[in-house]
């Protein structure tokens, strides 16, 4: 056997566990749930018997189910609003932490802490017991100001005030990642810019932001996926709740999960188009 063939075989040997696992534990459940969402499931002695029902459950989700459309739009809206807030916030914190500070390690430790302890039930308990609402924002003038202006404009701002702690708690990984990216930018670029008379503001827009842009894309994708898979969001709970519905076991949940999946993919696609590196036409 030729050496290159032998090497190729060895490479496949090492990758094989993943390929098998992908087929059994990812691809099969993935397509099977798409299949189930179009079928009505009956439990018989021989196992599962499926009859084709077409788009029935997809239509049911939006037309008949009283709770799902509300849960769905709320969850999507939360993802769409939280992601830019998390990204902007973590970038600001990373830039602040990138300076020479005395307690830098301490702050980094602090901001990363939620990543370690955050889990669905913990957040649910903290929210339920008002531990996550740091200040009662209704007391402040700015909140009342936003309440006065039309709802469509003010909603993102009110959302930010109401979910401040949760936004902070979901930015730990992103801060560390941005920080690692910032440390890659060599100091000499900043020095050169300073000699040319650029101030901090100009340096941020002309140097830091363009160089950190790939990290923004990766962080955005991570944030969307992270938020979308979080156990607490309303869609995920309704998927779990409907799993064992007597009249529509499995299928309805599968249909819900595919509606959700399509929406999340759409958000990811839009984020990618907005943040991708455009090919430079001139240098």
């Amino acid at each position: 056997m030729k050496r290159s063939t032998r090497r190729a075989l060895a490479g496949y040997m090492y990758t094989l566990p993943w390929i098998i696992g992908f087929a059994v534990f990812t691809a099969y459940p993935f397509f099977y749930s798409l299949y189930l969402s179009f079928f009505n499931v009956n439990f018989t002695v021989d196992g599962i018997e499926a009859t084709f029902v077409g788009w029935k459950y997809y239509i049911y989700a939006f037309r008949t189910d009283p709770a799902f459309p509300i849960n769905f739009w709320n969850t999507i809206l939360n993802i769409v609003l939280s992601t830019p807030l998390i990204i902007i916030f973590s970038l600001i914190v990373a830039i602040l932490l990138n300076r020479k500070l005395v307690a830098r390690a301490f702050f980094r430790l602090l901001y990363f802490l939620p990543v370690v302890i955050v889990s669905g039930p913990v957040v649910a308990e903290l929210v339920a017991n008002n531990a996550a609402s740091i200040v009662d924002p209704r007391r402040y003038f700015i909140y009342r100001f936003f309440q006065m202006i039309p709802n469509t404009i003010s909603y993102p701002f009110l959302y930010m005030f109401n979910n401040l702690v949760l936004i902070l708690w979901f930015s730990g990984v992103q801060i560390i990642f941005f920080l690692a990216g910032l440390q890659k930018i060599s100091n000499s670029i900043y020095e050169a810019a300073q000699i040319d008379g650029a101030n901090d503001w100009v340096i941020f827009w002309k140097i830091t932001l363009p160089l950190i842009k790939p990290f923004v894309l990766v962080n955005t994708i991570y944030t969307i996926v992270d938020l979308a898979s979080f156990a607490n969001n309303a869609v995920n709970t309704s998927i779990t709740q409907h799993m064992f519905d007597i009249d529509k076991p499995y299928s309805y949940s599968a249909a819900l999960s595919w509606i959700y999946f399509a929406a999340v993919m759409l958000i990811l696609g839009i984020a990618y188009l907005l943040l991708r590196e455009r090919r430079k036409t001139r240098i």
């Binding site: 090497r7 090492y14 990758t15 993943w18 992908f22 669905g120």
Partner: protein
């Protein structure tokens, strides 16, 4: 003319040193501490209210510091959480898959890093694509799959996917190892190959010992993510193996069963203090681990070169 320019420059430097720099620094510290407070607020709130008695909880004048410390909340929460058992469940259901995941993702990444084979790029792209699939899309059918195999309510439901590189966020870990292995010089492999080592020996004796930072990162993050995962494990392990977060999820219901209020007594009613004590017990093991291994947690991410070279 030249003199005055120099003077001006000197003035600007001294202005910067004496006024602008300290001012910026102070603002940065204030901002960072403010954010830090917001981060810690839920934890501080949780700690203080978990030590409060019912009287303190309803008393609006008691804001942060309880008038008297009570451990009663913890005693009850400990009982309802079925504490030593739930902790043990959490430990083994996260350590075992995390170990499997850290080893197997390294093996897969080794294959992708060191060998050329047909369709390699295709597999890498596919692997990254799997990261985008949210858990809940495969939730229903994974349950069907594991219940047909009769593996629900056993550790195999989380262990099997992990050992086939399909654990929680495996794609990230494979990518992390892949970047790390690509940074290791290939000369080591070649030297070992000339000495007669086979590919697995090269992996086991040379690559793995050099990859300690990557292994530590993968293990720690898998551990934390497995520990905190409830969506899938709630379904697959939910009835038999109750981990700490799962116990916390059902805390209110279970509390009502263990301390019934049917006789109308207010003493047994669940309150904020008890729920916060339960939350604190749930996060305490990870919190302690984090404080001990803080360097590994935060710095390892940078050392493994996940940001790419």
């Amino acid at each position: 003319m030249k003199m005055s320019k120099n003077k001006e420059k000197k003035f600007r430097v001294s202005y910067y040193k004496t006024f602008k720099e300290p001012a910026t620094k102070t603002i940065i510290y204030v901002v960072l501490i403010g954010i830090g407070y917001a981060y810690l607020y839920p934890l501080l709130y949780m700690i203080t209210s978990s030590f409060m008695s019912v009287e303190d909880l309803v008393n609006p004048t008691v804001v942060w510091i309880p008038t008297k410390l009570t451990l009663d909340n913890f005693v009850r929460a400990w009982k309802v959480l079925e504490m030593p058992k739930a902790l043990w469940n959490s430990v083994y259901t996260s350590v075992i898959p995390a170990l499997a995941q850290s080893f197997i993702t390294a093996l897969i990444a080794y294959g992708l890093s060191r060998f050329e084979f047909p369709l390699k790029r295709f597999w890498i792209v596919l692997m990254l694509a799997t990261f985008l699939i949210p858990t809940q899309v495969t939730l229903v059918t994974k349950y069907v799959l594991f219940s047909t195999l009769r593996l629900t309510d056993s550790i195999f439901a989380t262990f099997l996917p992990a050992i086939f590189g399909q654990g929680i966020r495996s794609a990230i870990f494979i990518l992390l190892y892949l970047n790390f292995f690509n940074m290791l010089p290939k000369a080591f492999d070649e030297a070992a190959e000339i000495d007669g080592a086979n590919t697995f020996q090269i992996f086991y004796k040379i690559i793995l010992p050099l990859s300690l930072p990557a292994i530590v990162t993968t293990f720690i993050f898998s551990l934390v993510w497995y520990w905190n995962e409830t969506l899938l494990s709630g379904l697959l392990l939910g009835n038999k193996i109750k981990t700490l977060p799962l116990e916390l999820r059902d805390f209110v219901v279970r509390y009502a069963v263990m301390f019934p209020t049917a006789d109308g007594s207010a003493a047994n009613r669940i309150n904020e203090g008890i729920r916060m004590a339960a939350t604190m017990i749930t996060i305490l093991p990870l919190l302690i681990t984090y404080l001990f291994l803080q360097r590994q947690f935060v710095e390892s991410l940078e050392r493994t070169g996940i940001t790419g070279e």
